[in-house]
Assembly symmetry: C2
Homo-oligomer: 229 residues x 2
């Protein structure tokens, strides 16, 4: 998988786009020329975040989550694990098989006031598989964006140079997300296999947090040995 796939046509919606990871993705994708819709439970917070983003990217609006999803082809779900289930329940009436749902949720034990270097067991196997189970029939789910630092995404002066690990059950869907990733300078998409591999990839967030704490850095992941470094 390389970054050569086309970036998406039409706006990308980021549900939870007021959070650190979602906002960082909004800036980077917006900077790549992709129209962005920031979604939040609270319409006013969404609009405030969109105004802040609009200072550095050309096209960004803020809407309440359900309204933000309408008209989007790609929907990035970037919410704390604590809110993932409730958010997906609220999106049930608006998500359709037209949507490609990119789940970035990580079941950190921090959701129940545990450590950010530990995860919770999710009965479905991973947060992404929970998203697949909860999303309406036909919505395609791909898992991505677990290892990129929110702070480094939001710092547009920082040159990214790392990989985004992608899991999903359909090659076409992963290629579409690869196009999205490849649109961001310095990020390389890597196909990690079916959605069930999200069980592993979601664990990389607490691993990186542990490395960050020990080394006072903002680490990321690079897969070595691939033909396109």
């Amino acid at each position: 998988m390389t970054g050569s796939a086309a970036p998406p046509a039409g706006p990308v919606t980021i549900v939870g786009g007021t959070g650190a990871l979602g906002f960082g993705l909004a800036l980077r994708l917006g900077k790549a020329g992709i129209p962005i819709v920031i979604g939040s439970r609270d319409e006013q917070r969404a609009q405030e975040a969109a105004e802040r983003a609009s200072e550095v990217i050309p096209e960004c609006e803020g809407r309440q989550n359900e309204a933000a999803v309408e008209g989007a082809r790609i929907v990035i779900l970037s919410v704390p694990f604590r809110n993932q289930s409730e958010t997906l329940t609220n999106l049930k009436t608006v998500l359709t098989p037209e949507h490609l749902l990119v789940d970035a949720t990580v079941p950190l034990a921090a959701a129940v006031s545990g450590k950010a270097t530990r995860t919770l067991g999710v009965w479905q196997g991973s947060a992404a598989q929970q998203a697949q189970e909860m999303a309406p029939e036909g919505v395609r789910v791909v898992s991505a964006f677990h290892t990129v630092s929110a702070a480094l995404l939001a710092d547009l002066d920082h040159e990214l140079d790392e990989d985004v690990l992608i899991c999903g059950d359909r090659k076409a869907d992963k290629a579409e997300v690869a196009g999205l990733v490849g649109a961001i300078d310095g990020l390389r998409p890597v196909d990690c296999g079916p959605l069930e591999m999200a069980r592993i990839v979601e664990q990389l967030t607490p691993l990186i947090i542990s490395i960050n704490v020990r080394n006072k850095v903002r680490a990321g992941i690079r897969i070595t040995g691939l033909p396109n470094p």
Copy 2:
């Protein structure tokens, strides 16, 4: 953590050194000037492997596992998960608090004829934690070497350029293993936190296997953002 720590004084024993990963480590560590003892359940197989290794490295002998452990300071445990428990039971009388046990075991589902892209749940949390539980009181356990390709280790013409992720509960033990890793050209040790983090790091083997299958490569892991790239 950098590679600047000293390589170990005295021989390094590799229990399961006739296997692909163990043999590759024997070659690389031996090439770094460290005397190697290859251990196997079968003394003759150990000696045959040591003879093969001796064609390219200066000091290598082969012994039956229990005899191989005596006199070593660092013991690398590199056996299939299926054999880890039995091997540790057999080593109970010879492992002492003098030994630093470096566990490289990965609980691949392949142990029960499942997929190599899936793992088994280990009640203790990880194979490394099982090793800690089974080893005699006082034996120090560190987890490492899960993400380096056995084939690339054994190919001495290949220039390694990747990280080895290390988990353990004592900084001094991890520094000792970091010295071992740093003795191998092209490998960088990265401290990933306490031994419980082996739950995550052991999962990287099936992740890499999945990436290898999809990309026909021999992948490894590099942590980005660290000061010493």
